[in-house]
Symmetry: C2
Subunit: 215 residues, 2 copies
Protein backbone atom coordinates (compact mmCIF):
# COMPACT_ATOMS: atom_id res chain seq x y z
CA UNK A 1 0.00 0.00 0.00
CA UNK A 2 1.41 3.39 -1.01
CA UNK A 3 1.54 5.78 1.96
CA UNK A 4 1.40 9.56 2.08
CA UNK A 5 4.19 10.95 4.24
CA UNK A 6 5.51 14.23 5.62
CA UNK A 7 9.11 14.42 6.88
CA UNK A 8 11.35 16.93 8.63
CA UNK A 9 8.63 19.51 8.97
CA UNK A 10 9.80 22.10 11.51
CA UNK A 11 7.41 24.28 13.51
CA UNK A 12 7.95 26.86 16.21
CA UNK A 13 6.41 26.64 19.70
CA UNK A 14 3.68 28.95 18.45
CA UNK A 15 2.98 26.65 15.51
CA UNK A 16 4.48 28.51 12.56
CA UNK A 17 6.01 26.42 9.77
CA UNK A 18 7.70 29.39 8.14
CA UNK A 19 8.19 33.06 8.92
CA UNK A 20 6.63 36.19 7.53
CA UNK A 21 7.99 38.01 4.48
CA UNK A 22 9.27 35.18 2.30
CA UNK A 23 11.44 36.41 -0.56
CA UNK A 24 14.32 35.43 -2.81
CA UNK A 25 16.76 36.45 -0.09
CA UNK A 26 14.70 35.00 2.74
CA UNK A 27 13.01 31.73 1.71
CA UNK A 28 11.74 31.25 5.28
CA UNK A 29 10.98 34.92 5.87
CA UNK A 30 11.95 36.46 9.20
CA UNK A 31 12.41 32.93 10.63
CA UNK A 32 15.72 32.81 8.72
CA UNK A 33 17.48 29.54 9.68
CA UNK A 34 15.97 29.27 13.17
CA UNK A 35 13.59 26.42 12.28
CA UNK A 36 16.16 24.31 10.44
CA UNK A 37 19.46 24.54 12.30
CA UNK A 38 18.92 21.04 13.71
CA UNK A 39 18.73 19.76 10.11
CA UNK A 40 21.73 21.54 8.59
CA UNK A 41 24.08 19.71 10.94
CA UNK A 42 23.00 16.21 9.92
CA UNK A 43 24.78 13.81 7.57
CA UNK A 44 21.45 13.44 5.76
CA UNK A 45 21.33 17.14 4.88
CA UNK A 46 24.96 17.21 3.78
CA UNK A 47 24.51 14.15 1.58
CA UNK A 48 21.32 15.59 0.08
CA UNK A 49 23.45 18.49 -1.14
CA UNK A 50 26.43 16.44 -2.28
CA UNK A 51 28.57 17.15 0.77
CA UNK A 52 30.22 14.87 3.31
CA UNK A 53 30.47 14.96 7.10
CA UNK A 54 27.81 16.00 9.57
CA UNK A 55 26.35 14.45 12.71
CA UNK A 56 25.05 10.89 12.72
CA UNK A 57 22.78 11.00 15.82
CA UNK A 58 19.03 10.91 16.27
CA UNK A 59 18.41 14.11 14.30
CA UNK A 60 20.18 12.43 11.39
CA UNK A 61 18.28 9.17 11.76
CA UNK A 62 14.99 11.05 11.65
CA UNK A 63 16.12 13.24 8.76
CA UNK A 64 17.25 10.39 6.55
CA UNK A 65 13.85 8.69 6.53
CA UNK A 66 12.89 11.51 4.15
CA UNK A 67 13.84 9.74 0.94
CA UNK A 68 13.34 6.02 1.61
CA UNK A 69 10.65 4.52 -0.58
CA UNK A 70 9.41 7.82 -1.97
CA UNK A 71 8.25 7.80 -5.61
CA UNK A 72 6.89 11.35 -5.96
CA UNK A 73 6.56 14.61 -4.04
CA UNK A 74 3.77 17.19 -3.92
CA UNK A 75 4.76 20.72 -2.89
CA UNK A 76 3.08 24.09 -2.72
CA UNK A 77 4.17 26.81 -5.07
CA UNK A 78 5.62 28.82 -2.17
CA UNK A 79 8.09 26.02 -1.54
CA UNK A 80 9.13 26.01 -5.21
CA UNK A 81 9.97 29.70 -5.30
CA UNK A 82 9.28 33.23 -4.09
CA UNK A 83 7.12 34.38 -7.01
CA UNK A 84 3.39 34.93 -6.63
CA UNK A 85 0.76 35.31 -9.37
CA UNK A 86 1.26 34.40 -13.06
CA UNK A 87 4.77 33.26 -14.05
CA UNK A 88 6.61 36.29 -15.45
CA UNK A 89 9.10 34.01 -17.17
CA UNK A 90 10.29 30.45 -16.82
CA UNK A 91 13.82 31.18 -15.73
CA UNK A 92 13.25 30.28 -12.09
CA UNK A 93 13.86 26.55 -11.70
CA UNK A 94 13.49 26.20 -7.93
CA UNK A 95 15.89 26.76 -5.03
CA UNK A 96 17.89 23.60 -5.58
CA UNK A 97 20.18 24.23 -8.59
CA UNK A 98 20.46 22.10 -11.73
CA UNK A 99 20.26 18.77 -9.87
CA UNK A 100 17.58 18.98 -7.16
CA UNK A 101 17.68 16.42 -4.31
CA UNK A 102 14.27 14.89 -5.09
CA UNK A 103 15.17 12.47 -7.94
CA UNK A 104 11.46 11.78 -8.57
CA UNK A 105 8.51 13.52 -10.19
CA UNK A 106 7.53 16.59 -8.14
CA UNK A 107 4.05 18.10 -8.44
CA UNK A 108 3.97 21.83 -7.74
CA UNK A 109 0.47 23.08 -6.86
CA UNK A 110 -0.26 26.35 -8.63
CA UNK A 111 -3.22 27.95 -10.36
CA UNK A 112 -0.88 29.36 -13.00
CA UNK A 113 0.01 26.94 -15.81
CA UNK A 114 3.59 26.30 -16.83
CA UNK A 115 5.24 23.55 -18.90
CA UNK A 116 6.91 20.74 -17.04
CA UNK A 117 10.55 21.12 -16.21
CA UNK A 118 13.04 18.23 -16.45
CA UNK A 119 16.10 18.60 -14.27
CA UNK A 120 19.26 16.52 -13.95
CA UNK A 121 19.20 13.49 -11.67
CA UNK A 122 15.64 12.36 -12.28
CA UNK A 123 13.65 15.29 -10.86
CA UNK A 124 10.82 16.51 -13.09
CA UNK A 125 8.65 19.41 -11.90
CA UNK A 126 5.01 19.23 -13.00
CA UNK A 127 2.82 22.29 -12.43
CA UNK A 128 -0.70 21.42 -11.46
CA UNK A 129 -3.90 23.24 -10.48
CA UNK A 130 -5.65 20.65 -8.33
CA UNK A 131 -7.25 20.00 -4.96
CA UNK A 132 -5.39 17.61 -2.63
CA UNK A 133 -7.31 14.46 -3.66
CA UNK A 134 -6.68 15.00 -7.36
CA UNK A 135 -3.06 15.99 -6.85
CA UNK A 136 -2.52 12.83 -4.83
CA UNK A 137 -4.13 10.69 -7.54
CA UNK A 138 -1.71 12.17 -10.07
CA UNK A 139 1.31 11.77 -7.79
CA UNK A 140 0.42 8.16 -6.97
CA UNK A 141 0.13 7.34 -10.65
CA UNK A 142 3.65 8.74 -11.14
CA UNK A 143 5.15 7.10 -8.05
CA UNK A 144 5.27 3.55 -9.43
CA UNK A 145 3.77 1.99 -6.31
CA UNK A 146 6.08 3.85 -3.93
CA UNK A 147 5.03 6.38 -1.29
CA UNK A 148 4.16 10.01 -1.92
CA UNK A 149 5.78 12.76 0.15
CA UNK A 150 3.96 16.01 0.90
CA UNK A 151 6.89 18.37 0.88
CA UNK A 152 5.37 21.56 2.33
CA UNK A 153 5.11 24.42 2.97
CA UNK A 154 2.78 24.70 5.93
CA UNK A 155 -0.34 25.59 3.94
CA UNK A 156 0.10 22.54 1.73
CA UNK A 157 0.71 20.15 4.64
CA UNK A 158 -2.29 21.64 6.45
CA UNK A 159 -4.54 21.16 3.41
CA UNK A 160 -3.58 17.49 3.13
CA UNK A 161 -4.07 16.96 6.88
CA UNK A 162 -7.46 18.68 6.73
CA UNK A 163 -8.46 16.33 3.88
CA UNK A 164 -7.30 13.38 6.04
CA UNK A 165 -4.86 12.19 3.38
CA UNK A 166 -1.70 11.88 5.52
CA UNK A 167 -0.58 8.49 6.88
CA UNK A 168 2.68 9.53 8.51
CA UNK A 169 3.62 12.98 9.79
CA UNK A 170 7.03 13.85 11.21
CA UNK A 171 7.02 17.26 12.88
CA UNK A 172 10.02 18.86 14.57
CA UNK A 173 9.08 21.27 17.35
CA UNK A 174 11.82 23.89 17.67
CA UNK A 175 11.96 25.86 20.95
CA UNK A 176 11.63 29.30 19.41
CA UNK A 177 8.71 31.76 19.35
CA UNK A 178 8.35 33.23 15.86
CA UNK A 179 5.37 35.45 16.63
CA UNK A 180 4.17 35.54 13.00
CA UNK A 181 4.32 33.55 9.80
CA UNK A 182 2.38 30.72 8.18
CA UNK A 183 0.67 28.45 10.74
CA UNK A 184 0.64 24.67 10.47
CA UNK A 185 -2.10 23.69 12.94
CA UNK A 186 -4.96 26.09 12.11
CA UNK A 187 -8.25 24.31 11.50
CA UNK A 188 -6.87 20.95 12.68
CA UNK A 189 -8.52 20.74 16.11
CA UNK A 190 -8.42 17.19 17.48
CA UNK A 191 -5.92 16.04 14.83
CA UNK A 192 -4.17 13.78 17.37
CA UNK A 193 -7.25 11.57 17.65
CA UNK A 194 -6.58 10.14 14.19
CA UNK A 195 -2.97 9.21 14.97
CA UNK A 196 -0.71 7.44 17.40
CA UNK A 197 2.04 9.80 18.47
CA UNK A 198 5.61 9.34 19.68
CA UNK A 199 8.16 11.94 20.65
CA UNK A 200 11.87 12.22 21.35
CA UNK A 201 14.11 15.17 22.13
CA UNK A 202 17.70 15.41 20.93
CA UNK A 203 20.79 17.34 22.03
CA UNK A 204 20.08 19.98 19.39
CA UNK A 205 17.10 20.95 21.58
CA UNK A 206 14.31 20.01 19.19
CA UNK A 207 11.52 17.49 19.73
CA UNK A 208 10.76 15.02 16.97
CA UNK A 209 7.06 14.08 16.94
CA UNK A 210 5.73 11.31 14.76
CA UNK A 211 2.06 10.90 13.97
CA UNK A 212 1.15 7.48 12.57
CA UNK A 213 -2.39 6.98 11.33
CA UNK A 214 -4.46 4.67 13.52
CA UNK A 215 -5.54 1.57 11.65
CA UNK B 1 18.06 36.30 45.30
CA UNK B 2 14.34 35.61 45.06
CA UNK B 3 13.40 34.15 41.67
CA UNK B 4 10.15 34.33 39.72
CA UNK B 5 9.11 30.90 38.51
CA UNK B 6 6.45 29.18 36.41
CA UNK B 7 5.91 25.43 36.80
CA UNK B 8 3.85 22.70 35.15
CA UNK B 9 2.37 25.02 32.58
CA UNK B 10 0.83 22.86 29.82
CA UNK B 11 0.33 24.07 26.27
CA UNK B 12 -1.01 22.39 23.15
CA UNK B 13 0.98 22.09 19.91
CA UNK B 14 -0.88 25.14 18.68
CA UNK B 15 0.13 27.08 21.79
CA UNK B 16 -3.07 27.24 23.83
CA UNK B 17 -2.75 27.13 27.61
CA UNK B 18 -6.43 26.50 28.17
CA UNK B 19 -9.47 25.80 26.02
CA UNK B 20 -12.40 27.94 24.98
CA UNK B 21 -15.57 28.25 27.06
CA UNK B 22 -14.28 28.05 30.63
CA UNK B 23 -17.06 27.56 33.17
CA UNK B 24 -17.83 26.06 36.56
CA UNK B 25 -18.24 22.64 34.94
CA UNK B 26 -15.29 23.07 32.59
CA UNK B 27 -12.40 24.95 34.24
CA UNK B 28 -10.22 24.36 31.17
CA UNK B 29 -13.04 24.86 28.66
CA UNK B 30 -13.27 22.48 25.72
CA UNK B 31 -9.70 21.29 26.45
CA UNK B 32 -11.19 19.28 29.36
CA UNK B 33 -8.35 17.15 30.85
CA UNK B 34 -6.32 16.85 27.64
CA UNK B 35 -3.58 19.27 28.72
CA UNK B 36 -3.10 17.82 32.20
CA UNK B 37 -3.37 14.04 31.97
CA UNK B 38 0.42 13.75 32.29
CA UNK B 39 0.14 15.59 35.64
CA UNK B 40 -2.78 13.71 37.20
CA UNK B 41 -0.80 10.47 37.19
CA UNK B 42 2.14 11.80 39.19
CA UNK B 43 2.86 11.29 42.89
CA UNK B 44 3.28 15.06 43.14
CA UNK B 45 -0.30 15.69 42.02
CA UNK B 46 -1.69 12.99 44.32
CA UNK B 47 0.21 14.34 47.31
CA UNK B 48 -0.85 17.90 46.53
CA UNK B 49 -4.44 16.70 46.96
CA UNK B 50 -3.81 14.56 50.03
CA UNK B 51 -3.75 11.25 48.15
CA UNK B 52 -1.12 8.52 47.92
CA UNK B 53 0.30 6.52 45.03
CA UNK B 54 1.00 7.73 41.51
CA UNK B 55 3.99 7.48 39.20
CA UNK B 56 7.46 8.53 40.34
CA UNK B 57 9.17 9.05 36.97
CA UNK B 58 10.37 12.14 35.11
CA UNK B 59 6.90 13.72 34.90
CA UNK B 60 6.75 13.49 38.69
CA UNK B 61 10.26 14.89 39.17
CA UNK B 62 9.36 17.88 37.02
CA UNK B 63 5.98 18.33 38.72
CA UNK B 64 7.31 18.30 42.27
CA UNK B 65 9.64 21.26 41.69
CA UNK B 66 6.42 23.31 41.84
CA UNK B 67 6.47 23.94 45.58
CA UNK B 68 10.12 23.95 46.61
CA UNK B 69 11.24 27.31 47.95
CA UNK B 70 8.07 29.16 46.97
CA UNK B 71 6.89 31.89 49.36
CA UNK B 72 3.97 33.37 47.41
CA UNK B 73 1.94 32.85 44.23
CA UNK B 74 0.41 35.31 41.79
CA UNK B 75 -2.51 34.06 39.72
CA UNK B 76 -5.01 35.54 37.30
CA UNK B 77 -8.62 35.80 38.30
CA UNK B 78 -9.60 33.22 35.67
CA UNK B 79 -7.48 30.67 37.49
CA UNK B 80 -9.20 31.49 40.78
CA UNK B 81 -12.70 30.91 39.46
CA UNK B 82 -15.14 31.03 36.57
CA UNK B 83 -16.79 34.36 37.43
CA UNK B 84 -16.21 37.47 35.36
CA UNK B 85 -16.97 41.10 36.27
CA UNK B 86 -17.79 42.36 39.79
CA UNK B 87 -18.05 39.72 42.53
CA UNK B 88 -21.75 38.85 42.91
CA UNK B 89 -21.05 37.43 46.35
CA UNK B 90 -18.07 36.11 48.25
CA UNK B 91 -19.16 32.50 48.48
CA UNK B 92 -16.75 31.26 45.83
CA UNK B 93 -13.47 30.44 47.54
CA UNK B 94 -11.53 28.94 44.61
CA UNK B 95 -11.47 25.48 43.05
CA UNK B 96 -9.41 23.89 45.79
CA UNK B 97 -11.72 23.31 48.77
CA UNK B 98 -11.19 24.48 52.36
CA UNK B 99 -7.45 23.68 52.38
CA UNK B 100 -5.88 24.77 49.06
CA UNK B 101 -2.51 23.24 48.10
CA UNK B 102 -0.63 26.56 48.07
CA UNK B 103 0.14 27.06 51.81
CA UNK B 104 1.40 30.61 51.11
CA UNK B 105 -0.07 34.01 50.36
CA UNK B 106 -1.70 33.99 46.90
CA UNK B 107 -2.29 37.25 45.02
CA UNK B 108 -5.28 37.10 42.67
CA UNK B 109 -5.15 39.78 39.98
CA UNK B 110 -8.56 41.37 39.51
CA UNK B 111 -9.93 44.84 38.92
CA UNK B 112 -12.81 44.08 41.27
CA UNK B 113 -12.05 44.56 44.98
CA UNK B 114 -12.77 41.89 47.53
CA UNK B 115 -11.59 41.30 51.13
CA UNK B 116 -8.78 38.89 51.67
CA UNK B 117 -9.70 35.28 52.29
CA UNK B 118 -7.87 33.14 54.84
CA UNK B 119 -8.07 29.41 54.23
CA UNK B 120 -6.88 26.45 56.24
CA UNK B 121 -3.27 25.32 55.86
CA UNK B 122 -1.66 28.71 55.43
CA UNK B 123 -3.17 29.86 52.13
CA UNK B 124 -4.45 33.45 52.15
CA UNK B 125 -5.98 34.89 48.97
CA UNK B 126 -5.37 38.60 48.44
CA UNK B 127 -7.30 40.35 45.66
CA UNK B 128 -5.27 42.95 43.88
CA UNK B 129 -5.68 45.36 40.95
CA UNK B 130 -2.10 45.81 39.78
CA UNK B 131 0.24 45.61 36.82
CA UNK B 132 2.83 42.79 36.86
CA UNK B 133 5.66 44.87 38.38
CA UNK B 134 3.53 46.11 41.29
CA UNK B 135 1.97 42.69 41.88
CA UNK B 136 5.44 41.16 42.01
CA UNK B 137 6.63 43.79 44.48
CA UNK B 138 3.69 42.90 46.76
CA UNK B 139 4.23 39.17 46.39
CA UNK B 140 7.96 39.45 47.09
CA UNK B 141 7.27 41.42 50.24
CA UNK B 142 4.97 38.61 51.38
CA UNK B 143 7.30 35.77 50.36
CA UNK B 144 9.84 36.21 53.13
CA UNK B 145 12.84 36.01 50.84
CA UNK B 146 11.59 32.90 49.04
CA UNK B 147 10.69 32.64 45.35
CA UNK B 148 7.45 33.81 43.76
CA UNK B 149 5.48 31.49 41.52
CA UNK B 150 3.36 32.83 38.65
CA UNK B 151 0.53 30.33 38.72
CA UNK B 152 -1.33 31.09 35.49
CA UNK B 153 -3.53 31.10 33.54
CA UNK B 154 -1.98 31.75 30.13
CA UNK B 155 -2.80 35.46 30.01
CA UNK B 156 -1.11 36.04 33.36
CA UNK B 157 2.01 34.06 32.45
CA UNK B 158 2.17 35.86 29.12
CA UNK B 159 1.92 39.28 30.81
CA UNK B 160 4.82 38.47 33.15
CA UNK B 161 6.92 37.10 30.27
CA UNK B 162 6.18 40.21 28.19
CA UNK B 163 7.34 42.36 31.13
CA UNK B 164 10.53 40.24 31.31
CA UNK B 165 9.91 39.33 34.94
CA UNK B 166 10.26 35.53 34.69
CA UNK B 167 13.52 33.80 35.67
CA UNK B 168 12.47 30.17 35.23
CA UNK B 169 9.70 28.85 32.98
CA UNK B 170 8.66 25.20 32.84
CA UNK B 171 6.35 24.51 29.91
CA UNK B 172 4.88 21.11 29.05
CA UNK B 173 4.10 20.70 25.36
CA UNK B 174 1.25 18.21 24.99
CA UNK B 175 0.82 16.61 21.54
CA UNK B 176 -2.77 17.72 20.99
CA UNK B 177 -4.22 20.37 18.70
CA UNK B 178 -6.85 22.39 20.58
CA UNK B 179 -7.73 24.72 17.73
CA UNK B 180 -9.01 27.48 20.04
CA UNK B 181 -8.59 28.80 23.54
CA UNK B 182 -6.27 31.21 25.36
CA UNK B 183 -2.82 31.43 23.74
CA UNK B 184 0.41 31.49 25.73
CA UNK B 185 2.94 32.70 23.15
CA UNK B 186 1.21 35.68 21.51
CA UNK B 187 3.35 38.80 21.49
CA UNK B 188 6.44 36.95 22.72
CA UNK B 189 8.43 36.78 19.46
CA UNK B 190 12.07 35.93 20.11
CA UNK B 191 11.40 34.94 23.74
CA UNK B 192 13.98 32.14 23.54
CA UNK B 193 16.81 34.66 23.11
CA UNK B 194 16.50 35.67 26.77
CA UNK B 195 16.75 32.08 28.03
CA UNK B 196 18.74 28.90 27.89
CA UNK B 197 16.41 26.02 27.05
CA UNK B 198 16.42 22.31 27.75
CA UNK B 199 13.88 19.67 26.80
CA UNK B 200 13.00 16.09 27.62
CA UNK B 201 10.17 13.83 26.53
CA UNK B 202 8.58 11.25 28.80
CA UNK B 203 6.59 8.05 28.28
CA UNK B 204 3.36 10.02 28.81
CA UNK B 205 4.10 11.62 25.44
CA UNK B 206 4.67 15.18 26.62
CA UNK B 207 7.80 17.30 26.27
CA UNK B 208 9.05 19.22 29.27
CA UNK B 209 10.77 22.44 28.24
CA UNK B 210 12.67 24.59 30.72
CA UNK B 211 13.61 28.19 30.06
CA UNK B 212 16.28 29.54 32.39
CA UNK B 213 17.08 33.22 32.18
CA UNK B 214 20.54 33.94 30.70
CA UNK B 215 22.77 35.68 33.20
Amino acid sequence: MSLVRVHNFSVSLDGYGTGEGQSLDAPFGHAADRLHRWFFGTRAFRRMHGDEGGEAGVDDAMARAWGDGIGAEIMGRNKFGPQRGPWEDHEWQGWWGPEPPFHTPVFVLTHHPRPRLEMAGGTTFHFLAAEPEEALRRARAAAGGLDVRIGGGPSTVRAFLAADLIDHLHVVVVPVVLGRGVPLWDGLEGLEQRFRTESVTTPSGVTHLTFTRRT
